[in-house]
């Protein structure tokens, strides 16, 4: 079975939703507390869920990026491991330096919690192969600091190399180029602000998150 390790920091609050979504897709899930210094064996993927790790103190994701487990997760990713960071998980990945740029306060200074429309910019990744390029999808967002910024050189590097995976159709937070999700250079690490795990069940407002999880599952078969 394809096994996902979900990292839990104090203040993570989407870990169970993510786990349920992954199990419903057919993954085996193991939860990993942030103080662990070792990963379970045979993980195919590590996921860092949304939430407010360490109360968002200092900067969102900054303290989690220095947690004991994060060092091991970074090593896993640097050795070619697959990694998914959602919302606060995306912030942790930027703060740890694994993904470029930073996520700062929304331009409207408000926490935004609602359905948004996104464009799938790149469907040629293990995370997005079940979407088609240019597909419009609906996923919920729930963040105060989702305003993606990076220097012009980094933005062109991301755009020119297919590393921008999701874009907002209507920019809710001020992100440069409407960027909502980016890949690492080796395309094995995805950071995204929207919550696919809140768009998988029949009671959810949309089911467009399912394709992300099914893309992943199929890629490991």
């Amino acid at each position: 079975m394809t096994k996902v390790g979900i990292i839990i920091f104090p203040g993570s609050n989407c870990d169970k939703d993510l786990g349920e979504g992954l199990v419903a897709t057919g993954f085996d899930v193991e939860y990993i507390w942030h103080k662990n210094t070792e990963l379970p064996n045979n993980l195919d993927l590590i996921a860092i869920p949304g939430g407010f790790s360490f109360g968002d103190y200092l900067r969102c994701g900054a303290i989690a990026a220095k947690s004991p487990i994060t060092e091991v997760v970074l090593k896993f990713a640097k050795e070619g491991g697959y990694l998914l960071g959602i919302c606060n998980g995306f912030q942790v990945l930027c703060e740890s330096g694994l993904l470029p740029g930073a996520l700062v306060g929304n331009v409207g200074l408000k926490f935004i919690c609602r359905q948004e429309s996104f464009l799938v910019e790149n469907s040629d990744s293990i995370f997005t192969s079940n979407y088609h390029p240019g597909q419009e999808i609906n996923l919920p967002i729930a963040h105060h600091d989702g305003n993606y910024i990076a220097d012009a050189e980094t933005i062109s590097e991301l755009e020119d190399n297919g590393r921008v995976v999701f874009k907002y159709l209507e920019n809710p937070n001020g992100s440069i180029n409407n960027i909502a999700g980016i890949l690492s250079k080796n395309k094995r690490v995805l950071g995204m602000m929207p919550h696919p795990e809140r768009a998988v069940d029949k009671i959810h407002a949309s089911n467009d998150g399912r394709n992300l999880f099914s893309s992943l599952l199929e890629s490991f078969k």
């Binding site: 200092l58 900067r59 220095k66 703060e95 740029g101 929304n106 331009v107 200074l109 001020g174």
Partner: protein, 79 residues
Amino acid sequence: MKVRVHVMPKDGLLDPQGEAINIALVNMGFAEVKNVKQGKVIELELEEEDKIVVKNRVEEMCQKLLANSVIESFQVEVI
């Protein structure tokens, strides 16, 4: 020894909080306000009395945790 770290949004970076304060001040009649930037101040107390050692250590703390060099600049003040 006590140290004060000033962390500020980098020049040219959009600072929505500073902007909101700016608008509020102008609306209150402080029309001369041209620009506001909001940062943060972090005070640390260290068990070390050598000023140079302290400054170096705190700068390392800033680079590793207290400031994010993508968006922030920092200044270390020994007090």
